[in-house]
C-alpha cells in the first residue's frame, strides 16, 4: 500500500497498464519530458520511451483525431487534454468519430481510446481552466464519461477505463489532485464502471454527487449527522451510462433527494437524474427534490469562484428544504 494523492494515483494506474499492456500509448502536450503540467505522467516517458509517451505538437484536434486512428489500428491511446477549457476542439472527433466508429462499422473497427482531462474549478486557475464539461459528453451516445472523487477511485476507475473496449472520457477534478492522500494498493485492480458508489449509508435523504463536489457533499452529510439527520451519499462516478438503479433504490428508502454538481444547472446531468426520478421514483419522494449546482453563468475567475461553487451551506440548506416540505 502507498499513500497517494489523486494525481499520483492516476500516474500509478497509467504505469501499471503500460507495464502490462504494450498497446497502451500516451499522447498529449508536455506529457513526456515534463511529465504533464499537473505531473500526471511524470517519469513515464523515461520508463516506457518516447514512442509510447508522445509529446505532441500543440493541437488538441489532432490529439483526439490521431488517437481515433491509433485506437482503430489496435493501440490503446490515452490522450491528455492539458486544461479543461482546451477540450472543446476535440468534440468533432469525439462525437463524430470516436463514439460512432464501432456502430458505423458494425464492430469491424472500434475506438477504445481514453481521453483524460482535468476539470472543475477551485484552484485559482487562469481563465478557461475551470470548466465542468461532463454533461456535454454525457449527452453523446457511444461514450462513457467517468469522474473520480478520490485517489483510490481514480486508480481503479482509470484502470477500468483503460481496459474498456469503447471510448471513455475521464475527467479528473483538479481540486482533488493534491487535496488529500489515501492508501492505494497499486495492485492493478480495477473498479467497476457503469455503477454508482454509495459512500455513506443514511435513511433521511439521498445526496447524489460526483467528482470534487463530493467533498462538500460529504461535509454536509457530516454536519447534518451532528443534528441527527442521516444522509446517504452516492458517488455517481460513471456519468454515462448512468446507474439510476442505485439512485432509485436509495431514494425509495430515504424519500428525499438532493443532487449536487459543480457544472451549470440548465441541462446539467442533475436534470437527467431528476427527470428519471420523476419518471420512475416520484411515488418514493416525500418532498420535491433539490438541485444544488453551479449557477447558469460563465465560470468566474479566481476571486469569485467560491461564490460560484456549491458550498456545504447551500447543500445543507437544500436538505432542510426537502425535510421541511410535506
Amino acid at each position: 500500500m502507498a499513500e497517494l494523492n489523486l494525481v499520483e494515483a492516476v500516474n500509478r494506474a497509467l504505469a501499471w497498464e503500460m507495464e502490462h499492456d504494450p498497446a497502451v500509448v500516451l499522447l498529449g502536450e508536455d506529457i513526456g519530458v515534463n511529465g504533464g503540467v499537473f505531473r500526471a505522467t511524470v517519469g513515464l516517458q523515461q520508463r516506457f520511451g518516447a514512442g509510447r509517451v508522445i509529446d505532441t505538437a500543440l493541437a488538441e484536434t489532432a490529439i483526439a483525431g490521431t488517437a481515433v486512428g491509433m485506437a482503430a489500428m489496435g493501440l490503446k491511446p490515452v490522450a491528455e487534454i492539458q486544461f479543461s477549457g482546451f477540450i472543446y476542439p476535440t468534440l468533432d472527433h469525439v462525437i463524430n468519430h470516436a463514439s460512432r466508429l464501432r456502430h458505423r462499422t458494425r464492430g469491424r473497427l472500434t475506438c477504445p481510446l481514453v481521453l483524460r482531462s482535468p476539470c472543475g474549478a477551485g484552484i485559482h486557475a487562469p481563465e478557461h481552466h475551470s470548466e465542468s464539461p461532463e454533461a456535454l459528453f454525457a449527452h453523446v451516445p457511444g461514450l462513457r464519461v467517468v469522474m473520480p472523487s478520490s485517489p483510490s477511485r481514480a486508480y481503479g476507475l482509470l484502470l477500468a477505463a483503460l481496459r474498456d473496449p469503447d471510448p471513455v472520457i475521464f475527467l479528473e477534478p483538479t481540486r482533488l489532485y493534491r487535496l488529500f492522500k489515501q492508501e492505494v494498493a497499486d495492485d492493478g485492480a480495477a473498479l467497476p464502471l457503469d455503477v454508482c458508489f454509495t459512500l455513506r449509508a443514511g435513511s433521511d435523504v439521498t445526496l447524489v454527487s460526483w467528482g470534487a463536489m463530493l467533498q462538500e457533499t460529504q461535509a454536509a452529510a457530516e454536519a447534518l449527522a451532528a443534528e441527527g439527520i442521516s444522509a446517504e451519499v452516492i458517488d455517481v462516478a460513471t456519468l454515462k451510462p448512468l446507474d439510476m438503479a442505485t439512485i432509485l433504490d436509495s431514494v425509495a428508502r430515504t424519500g428525499r433527494c438532493v443532487i449536487v454538481h459543480e457544472a451549470a444547472r440548465s441541462g446539467g446531468l442533475g436534470a437527467e437524474i431528476a427527470a428519471t426520478l420523476a419518471e420512475r421514483g416520484i411515488y418514493s419522494l416525500s418532498a420535491p427534490l433539490q438541485r444544488v449546482t453551479g449557477y447558469d453563468v460563465v465560470i468566474p475567475l479566481a476571486r469569485l469562484e467560491y461564490q460560484y461553487l456549491p458550498s456545504v451551506e447551500r447543500i445543507v440548506a437544500a436538505v432542510r428544504t426537502t425535510l421541511e416540505a410535506t
Binding site: G69, M70, L75, R102, T105, G142, P241
Partner: protein
C-alpha cells in the same frame, strides 16, 4: 538578406488529354497490357457512379456523391496500395474503395442508409468514409503512427478534397505526421469545386501541394486525370513511406464533372460551358485513346468490358434491393461492445414499437445534404 528556405512543387503528367505520351512512361506502364486493369477499374467505377445517381433519382438510395471525372485518382492510388495498407477515404472515394475490395452492393447499402454497408467483407481494416471534412487526415496520421510504433511495413493512405485543405484538421494532421515521420500518404483530389466555392476562393496558395511543404512534408502535383501519372507517383510515395521515409502529399488536379452530390444543382453557381470544356480532359477516354493507339484495346474488348461491368453493377443493385433493413434493435447492438444496462429498456421499447419496413424502405429517396 539571406534566403533561409526555398521550395518547389513538381507537376507530373505522362499522358496528355488526347492520350499521347508526353514523356517516356514509367516502368510499370511500359507494357500497355499492364494498364488494362486500371482502365477496367475506372470504367467499372464510372458505371457504378452513374447507376448510383439513377438509383437516387428513382428513390432507391439517398444522397450520393458522384466521382464523375475523378476516377483516375482513386484507381491510380488504390492500385498502388498493398492489401495490408489502410485507406482512410472521404465520401467521394468509392473508386478507390471498390478497387480495394469494397463491394458495390456494400457501397449502395451505405448510400441507401444502412450502416452494414461500412462493414466491408474486404478490406477489413479500411476506414469507413468520413463525411465531416478532413477529419480523416487526423485518423490516418494516427493509423500511420500505430504502424510505425509496431514496426509494420504498412502505409495509411488518406484522401480528401481541395476544400478539405482549408480545415485545421488537415494542417494539424500533416504537422504531427511530419514530426513523427509516420508512413502517411495524403492525396488531395483537387476537383476545383467545394460545393459552390471554386478553388480560387478556397485558397490563395498557388498550389495545394505547398501546404504540405509548410509542414515539412514533400508535396507534389500530378495530373489527376492521367492514371499513369497518379499510379506512378502513388507508387513512389508509398514505397518511400513504407521504407521509413515519412509522409508525402499528392495534389491530383482534376475536375468535378458532376454536381457536388445528388442534392446539389451546380448550374446555380457554375457555367455549363466550363464543365463542357473540362470533358476534354477526363481520364477514361484519355487512357482508352492511348491503348487504342497501341492496339492494346479495341471495340470488341470495349463492348465486352461494358457488358461485364454493367452486369456486375446490376447484380450489385439486385443484391442491395434484396437486402431487408436491419431490425430496430440494430440501433443499439453495435453502440458499445456490451449494451450498458441503462440502455436495455430503450432497446426493448424500440423493439416494442418497431415499424415494419419493406426491403428497401427506411432509406433512399432523401433529397438533402
Amino acid at each position: 538578406m539571406a534566403i533561409v528556405a526555398r521550395f518547389q512543387v513538381e507537376y507530373t503528367r505522362f499522358l496528355d488529354p488526347q492520350g499521347e505520351a508526353t514523356q517516356p512512361l514509367p516502368p510499370f506502364a511500359l507494357d500497355p497490357a499492364a494498364l488494362v486493369p486500371l482502365y477496367r477499374a475506372m470504367t467499372q467505377a464510372r458505371l457504378f457512379d452513374s447507376k448510383a445517381i439513377a438509383l437516387q433519382r428513382t428513390g432507391k438510395i439517398g444522397t450520393f456523391a458522384s466521382a464523375l471525372g475523378q476516377e483516375a485518382i482513386g484507381i491510380g492510388v488504390a492500385s498502388a496500395m498493398r492489401a495490408e495498407d489502410v485507406l482512410v477515404p472521404s465520401y467521394r472515394d468509392h473508386a478507390a474503395q471498390l478497387l480495394r475490395g469494397v463491394s458495390m452492393a456494400e457501397s449502395l447499402l451505405y448510400w441507401g442508409g444502412d450502416e452494414r454497408g461500412s462493414d466491408f467483407a474486404v478490406p477489413r481494416m479500411d476506414f469507413p468514409i468520413a463525411v465531416p471534412i478532413a477529419t480523416q487526415v487526423c485518423h490516418a496520421a494516427g493509423c500511420a503512427y500505430a504502424f510505425k510504433l509496431r514496426g509494420e511495413p504498412r502505409v495509411a493512405v488518406c484522401m480528401l478534397g481541395d476544400g478539405g485543405t482549408s480545415k485545421g484538421d488537415f494542417y494539424e494532421a500533416l504537422n504531427l505526421a511530419a514530426v513523427w515521420q509516420a508512413p502517411l500518404v495524403v492525396v488531395v483530389n483537387n476537383n476545383q469545386w467545394a460545393i459552390s466555392v471554386p478553388r480560387s476562393q478556397q485558397s490563395a496558395a498557388p498550389t495545394l501541394a505547398q501546404k504540405a511543404i509548410a509542414a515539412g512534408i514533400e508535396g507534389c502535383q500530378v495530373d489527376g486525370n492521367d492514371v499513369v501519372a497518379v499510379h506512378h507517383l502513388a507508387q513512389q510515395v508509398l514505397a518511400k513511406a513504407r521504407a521509413g521515409g515519412g509522409p508525402s502529399l499528392i495534389e491530383a488536379i482534376s475536375y468535378r464533372l458532376g454536381d457536388h452530390t445528388t442534392a446539389d444543382d451546380a448550374t446555380r453557381y457554375r457555367d455549363p460551358a466550363e464543365v463542357e470544356a473540362q470533358w476534354t480532359f477526363e481520364p477514361i477516354r484519355r487512357l482508352r485513346n492511348y491503348l487504342l493507339r497501341l492496339q492494346a484495346w479495341g471495340p470488341e474488348q470495349e463492348e465486352q468490358l461494358i457488358g461485364e461491368c454493367s452486369a456486375a453493377v446490376n447484380a450489385a443493385v439486385e443484391a442491395y434491393l434484396a437486402t431487408p433493413p436491419p431490425g430496430a434493435a440494430d440501433m443499439f447492438d453495435h453502440l458499445y461492445a456490451t449494451l450498458p444496462a441503462a440502455l436495455q429498456e430503450q432497446r426493448a421499447m424500440a423493439l416494442h414499437f418497431a415499424l415494419r419496413l419493406a426491403p428497401h424502405e427506411g432509406g433512399g429517396g432523401g433529397s438533402h445534404g
